[in-house]
């Protein structure tokens, strides 16, 4: 990728051994809108703020949480356009796997391949790292899983995690509230409460997005009406 004139890596080591472009990419993630994920005993929930630049924007045209396969979904913090590229590549990789093995791709495999793409962009010529961190939620034969992938391409499995602007408060809140035997519904309530913590303005079904996957192994994004119902329960 890139022109031959740029066949040198733009991400190089500093004298102290750091890859500064990756650190800067993480800054871009840290200034993005808050998102979080919680793994329950019987499912996973991911959620994000959906703050749009103006009331003139048609919020129905924006969907920050995207399905990658029928049983895997993803949310991001950071740069939206970079996220779209990763979604497209991941979906293609999932389909290629299915074509070859006639089986749904396991969550760990898809995460690994997506992370490999992100790593490539930290080493290849003429490109910059992705300015997004991803939270991948899936349910396969190994049960419910939640992974976080960073711009460097490193990934970890999490019981609960948060990213973006309010990350430290959100993580502290999650650490207090998380229990291993949480049910999916409880996890959704906790996710909403966590978002509420750092939320500026009135929270509603129109300015947050929530995606869930349960034992039915069907990832879906909640409608604004469903989110409003959960919000009412939380009040």
């Amino acid at each position: 990728m890139g022109d031959s004139q740029y066949s040198f890596s733009l991400t190089t080591f500093s004298p102290s051994g750091k890859l500064v472009q990756i650190e800067y990419a993480l800054m871009a993630v840290g200034s993005g809108q808050t998102s979080l994920g919680i793994k329950a005993a019987n499912g996973v929930v991911i959620a994000t703020e959906k703050k749009l630049p103006s009331i003139l924007v048609d919020e129905a045209s924006v969907q920050k949480i995207q399905p990658l396969t029928t049983n895997i979904g993803v949310v991001y913090s950071g740069m939206g356009p970079d996220f779209r590229v990763l979604v497209r590549k991941s979906r293609k990789q999932a389909q290629q796997y299915f074509r070859l093995y006639k089986e749904q791709i396991p969550v760990t495999q898809l995460v690994r391949e997506t992370a490999a793409v992100m790593q490539e962009f930290t080493q290849s010529g003429g490109v910059r790292p992705f300015g997004v961190s991803l939270l991948v939620a899936g349910f396969d034969d190994d049960g419910p899983q939640l992974y976080q992938v960073d711009p460097s391409g490193s990934y970890f499995s999490w019981k609960a995690s948060a990213m973006g602007k309010n990350v430290s408060n959100a993580k502290t809140f999650l650490e207090k509230r998380y229990t291993d035997d949480m049910e999916l519904d409880d996890a959704v309530h906790t996710a909403i409460l966590t978002l509420k913590e750092g939320f500026e303005g009135q929270i509603s079904g129109k300015n947050i997005e929530i995606g869930i996957i349960g034992t039915d192994r069907n990832f879906r994004v909640l409608t604004p009406a469903e989110i409003d119902d959960y919000l009412a329960e939380v009040e």
Binding site: M1, G2, D3, Q5, Y6, F8, L10, T11, T12, S14, V20, Q21, Y24, A25, L26, M27, A28, V29, G30, S31, L52, P53, S54, I55, L56, V57, D58, A60, S61, V62, M79, G80, P81, D82, R84, V85, R88, F121, G126, V127, R128, P129, F130, G131
Partner: protein, 246 residues
């Protein structure tokens, strides 16, 4: 050659600055404003209207060749605000893509699909060093079979959103403030109201009354879903209606 150290090339190519910003992308936004014109788009109940200033800098120029409104297909229009040369290359590629889409899939390329394609292309320029971002903000309009009238705006960063109304160019923020007040209660504008809101927004923000030859207006309507550029006579009718109303 110092690379990626934060003081070096982060302003010259699209690599991250120490705060995690992409300066080249931010400069591209400034280039859109530097063109000196403002554009406005408004979506009504069953129509979409876009308006832009028509500044002909030299009397010797052929006015008919000065335009920012382009038909991508018979049904899709694109208003390009910013650097005209970048706009022309974008339009050329969009026309090609829309034609191939029609050939490949057998139906017309929808508004949101074209917008996404433009935005994804713009994203590539923000990530690969060998091409700079385009200094163009593109407003795409059309009538979607399932969702009705659609107005999308794509910017140099690769973002794209659907809009009820939007603006681009020099007085972008003032225009958006004006439009937010007008569209606060989700009005469902008729065709005439849509066009007049767009034109009067431009007049209010630039604080001048236009002659029909000083602005360009493009529309799509549900009853006639082709993209059409209004003639000077039609623009005059709307301008008269606005001044009589006030």
């Amino acid at each position: 050659m110092s690379r990626g150290s934060g003081s070096g090339y982060d302003r010259h190519i699209t690599i991250f600055s120490p705060e995690g910003r992409l300066f080249q992308v931010e400069y591209a936004f400034k280039a859109v404003k530097a063109s000196g014109i403002t554009s406005i788009g408004v979506r009504g109940k069953d129509s979409v209207c876009v308006v832009t200033q028509k500044k002909v800098p030299d009397k010797l120029l052929d006015q008919t060749s000065v335009t920012h409104l382009f038909a991508i297909t018979k049904y899709l229009g694109l208003l390009a605000t910013g650097m005209t040369a970048d706009a022309r290359t974008l339009v050329q590629q969009a026309r090609n893509e829309a034609a191939e889409f029609r050939f490949r899939y057998g139906y017309e390329m929808p508004v949101d699909v074209l917008s996404k394609w433009i935005a994804d292309k713009s994203q590539i320029y923000t990530q690969h060093a060998y091409m700079r971002p385009l200094g163009v903000a593109a407003m795409v309009l059309g009538i979607d079979e399932e969702n009705g009238p659609q107005l999308f705006k794509c910017d140099p960063a690769g973002h794209f959103f659907g809009h009820k109304a939007t603006s681009a160019g020099l007085k972008e923020q003032e225009a958006i403030n004006f439009l937010e007040k007008k569209m606060k209660n989700d009005p469902a504008f008729s065709y005439e109201e849509t066009v007049q809101t767009a034109i009067s927004a431009l007049q209010s923000v630039l604080q001048e009354d236009f002659k029909a030859t000083e602005i360009e207006v493009g529309v799509v309507r549900k009853e006639n879903p082709v993209f059409r550029v209004l003639s000077t006579e039609e623009i005059d009718e709307h301008l008269t209606a606005i001044s009589e109303r006030d």
